[in-house]
């Protein structure tokens, strides 16, 4: 009855194109802020320093001397903090029923089957991660910090990603 002109396309069953909604500046701003906080967290926690990641993965050091020894449990604390917030936040976000704040829909994986592709991918990722101490997030967060390492790493990572998408 009232406000008929204002309730234009969505209510008439002609939803806005998805790409249009995603391009809205509010969604873009939120994504930018999220990326900023993400990198701040990675940097503060020391995870952009590959030597700290490798010191975590080097579990043999746990058994040298009294308990933590030279083993660095930092990464476990990072995952603990991140996971606590994510579990709480995601549980409070009703992503089965309503829309996100600034876009038309949630787009999340609902796959449940564990397949060979997942296992093989995780194995290859783990080997590369162990060799370098960099994950895509930490390498990108320290891409422009003035050393050649992460630039080389990212330049090699992009064709790897492209190839995996084609396989």
């Amino acid at each position: 009855m009232m406000g008929a002109p204002a309730t234009a396309p969505a209510e008439l069953g002609v939803p806005l194109p998805k790409a249009d909604a995603l391009g809205r500046w509010s969604a873009v701003t939120v994504a930018f802020v999220s990326g900023c906080i993400f990198a701040a967290g990675l940097t503060l926690s020391g995870m952009t320093q590959p030597e700290k990641v490798i010191a975590f993965l080097d579990i043999k050091e746990m058994f040298v001397g009294s308990f933590p020894g030279k083993w660095d449990p930092s990464l476990a604390f990072v995952v603990l903090g991140a996971l606590a917030v994510a579990l709480l936040g995601f549980a409070l976000t009703p992503y089965a029923s309503i829309r996100p704040w600034f876009t038309a829909d949630f787009m999340l994986s609902n796959r449940r089957r564990v397949d060979g592709r997942l296992i093989l991918g995780a194995l290859l990722f783990g080997i590369g991660w162990g060799l370098s101490g960099y994950s895509p997030a930490t390498a990108l967060a320290s891409l422009l910090t003035g050393q050649i390492d992460t630039v080389l790493f990212v330049l090699a990572m992009l064709p790897g990603m492209w190839l995996a998408g084609k396989l």
């Binding site: 900023c36 043999k60 990212v154 790897g160 998408g165």
Partner: protein, 154 residues
Amino acid sequence: MNEYAEALQGGILVGLASWILLAGVGRASGVSGITHGVLTTRQQSSPWRWAFLFGLVGSGTFFSWALNVPYVQVTHPLVLVPAGFLVGLGAVMGSGSASGHAIVGLGRRSRRSLVAVVTFAVAAVATVMVTTHVPPAAWWAEAIWEALHHIVGQ
């Protein structure tokens, strides 16, 4: 102990960033997925991905400078290239990497993510065991590096 507190605080920020992206934009903050999306998806649906990546790279650069993060080279440049390639290949093939599976995936209590996290953790621990405790692991990289220097030098 201070170091551990910083790790915990940093982790909380990472979790917060993941939640903001999920609740605000409805997307998973898996960095490999977002980067792959920028490489492949049609330009129209990518603005949020570019924005996230700009934030990630820009803020990472700023905080590395502000917090005076030390730089230590731990991996030979010639090892970084295959390592980067494996990380890119494996992350996209396995539908996610550290952030995608260990934070968003586990945060959504996904069984696939749990399997992936356990698998890549075991693979990474085994890899570090070989590279740090088996002495001759780096000799071939040194040899190739020397040879390249020789060729370029002439």
